[in-house]
Symmetry: C2
Subunit: 363 residues, 2 copies
């Protein structure tokens, strides 16, 4: 468990003590009661903390103009379930009136990961954007752009570089390599870009590991002479744990990770080897009941596979009361995952047709 | 005298031991005999050293495609005589077939000096570009651009950031503040921009204090997988010394500096207080002769006021032989400077009309 260090290591893979981190950085617990029809991730504590949530809730309830923004790092040809949660959270705000921006961080991919701008563009068009649409983003109501096409973002990134010292970068990130600095100032410019023509509130849902960017953005805004930008709100999502329970889902533990797309068989194979909250023997489990809150299969239900709260609660109860065993439960998760993966593929196919009409922002 | 430190301090104001610096950084002495009709600054050792001069001379003599590039830092409303020398050197290459690029470093001015992009644009259009044209640049044969308008430059700057480590920035510049890093990688992108559509040699004339940028550019090119860019040649100009002889001309010693534009009276007043190579008394000077090579007035003749080599040599001889005294000589410098300043104002006026037709590059 982590939470003691002075900075959140953006590259760390351990599970976090979320409450401790939230307290340390002064992030409030998320209050789902403030939000209309809270999403599955909101209701179940996956969205676990927030900055500026009161202003955000007010913007929604009063129908004020506000925006939601997220980015695509086009370095691969699949995404993991943690990304899915961020995208679904963006979709929630889009459904609740947010002017939605999705940027492709092609400059960062080029500088930090050696992916050419051309290749990044290809991956964004052929995979990431269709995947985001398949996960609920409405492409007709979303502003998409590539960093490399956006002069305003690049100009502002340069300007913002004068608002942060090298030591601050180091304190926030643990290092201050030049491409890291470029990425950080560009990310600030991305986050504030929707305010370029109009000063307004925004919401940025992120994994807790991305809070350094958010804090830096807040600091930069506060250092500007005239407060040209509204400090955006941010929501923090818990990581999707690795199926072995040892860390967050990440490429370094491929057996613990389910990616999109995946073959249903492969996903099932991984689910069947997942860490559960089962007891040493069937007898003991029937007697003492299982521990769903330590179970990675239950985590899959909770975060991804079961929409209905009563259905989820029913599984938890059955497990706790020793009325359902792990094998059976895994089989159920497999079936649900298969249905999801097949549906995802189908939606991806439909989305690829839709996105041909996207009019990318260029400045 | 400087020249011992491990890096050339870009902000230093002491006079340099040019030979020592050239040796230390492996820069060859400038060989004017390689170049057709060498300019006043080339003939007189103001252009004192170079990298890649053989390739450059060959490009000129064989009529190959090559480019010359310099930048404008639009932070003021006047330039000093050192800038004049760089501009005149660009004009020399333009007259000798160079495809000429002049960029306005408006992003750097904004991040490092707090000049807004709008203000930078205004200054460039109303002062710097007309001044450069007045000093010999042919606007019809020059590609002008603003950094903030040039996506290619910004994209490449981001990419190049991955080719330099923080420690290298620190070694080269003495510090590695974020806007400094942004400026450095953007400058590399500017220097290489004319090769974007066509790989070709270029020449960058700079004050010796700018060599760090040049070396970094060379390093970045050498680190790229496929050698996409030709390493540009560079010429190094000596500083114009302050009129008090104590340092290079700079804003921190206003009485030692002649700026363009200046009122002729003010310029004369400063010339009359300049350090000369005169002796303690007229009698002694008549007997032993003056020391023109220690004289700031002679430096003005040499670098700026007298085009004809024989005329300059005649003054040196008269001075050395004690046939001309400092008062008389200063009066002559005043007259020449007045004529130059009046001519400059006239040319500026004409240039302002011409530049309305400039078609700035936008990418």
């Amino acid at each position: 468990m982590k939470g003691d260090s002075d900075f959140i290591d953006v590259y760390g893979s351990e599970l976090y003590d979320y409450d401790k981190i939230a307290r340390r950085f002064g992030i409030a617990g998320f209050r789902r009661e403030l939000f209309p029809s809270p999403s599955r991730l909101m209701r179940r504590g996956v969205v676990f903390s927030a900055r500026g949530q009161r202003e955000l809730a007010e913007a929604i309830s009063k129908g004020k103009d506000y925006y939601a923004l997220t980015g695509i790092m086009p370095t691969a040809d699949r995404i993991h379930l943690g990304t899915k949660s961020v995208v679904e959270t963006i979709a929630y705000f889009q459904e609740h009136g947010a002017d939605t921006f999705i940027l492709v961080a092609d400059l960062e991919a080029a500088a930090a990961r050696g992916v050419s701008l051309k290749e990044a563009r290809k991956r964004a068009l052929e995979f990431y954007i269709p995947a985001y649409v398949a996960l609920g983003i409405n492409p007709e109501k979303t502003h998409f752009y590539f960093q490399s096409d956006n002069k305003t973002v690049m100009n502002n990134a340069y300007r913002f570089s004068g608002k942060v010292t090298l030591n601050e970068f180091r304190a926030v990130y643990g290092n201050a390599d030049p491409p890291r600095i470029m990425a950080a100032v560009t990310q600030i410019a991305d986050i504030l870009y929707p305010q370029e023509r109009k000063r307004r509130l925004g919401v940025i849902p992120v994994g807790i590991d991305q809070d350094p960017h958010i804090r830096l953005t807040r600091d930069v805004i506060n250092r500007m002479k005239r407060s040209r930008y509204v400090v955006p709100s941010s929501l923090y999502l818990k990581f999707m744990p690795s199926l072995d329970g040892s860390s967050k889902m990440s490429k370094s533990r491929p057996e613990g990770m389910i990616e999109l797309p995946s073959s249903p068989d492969e996903a099932c194979r991984k689910i069947k080897r997942a860490l559960t909250g089962g007891r040493e023997s069937v007898e003991l489990q029937k007697k003492k009941g299982g521990e769903p809150d330590k179970c990675m299969v239950f985590e899959l239900y909770k975060q991804h596979l079961i929409e209905d709260d009563r259905e989820l609660e029913e599984i938890r109860r059955e497990c706790r009361e020793g009325r359902i065993m792990c094998g059976e439960c895994k089989q159920r998760a497999c079936s649900l995952m298969k249905a999801f993966l097949v549906g995802f593929d189908k939606k991806m196919g439909d989305a690829k047709k839709k996105i041909k009409k996207i009019d990318f922002l260029r400045e």
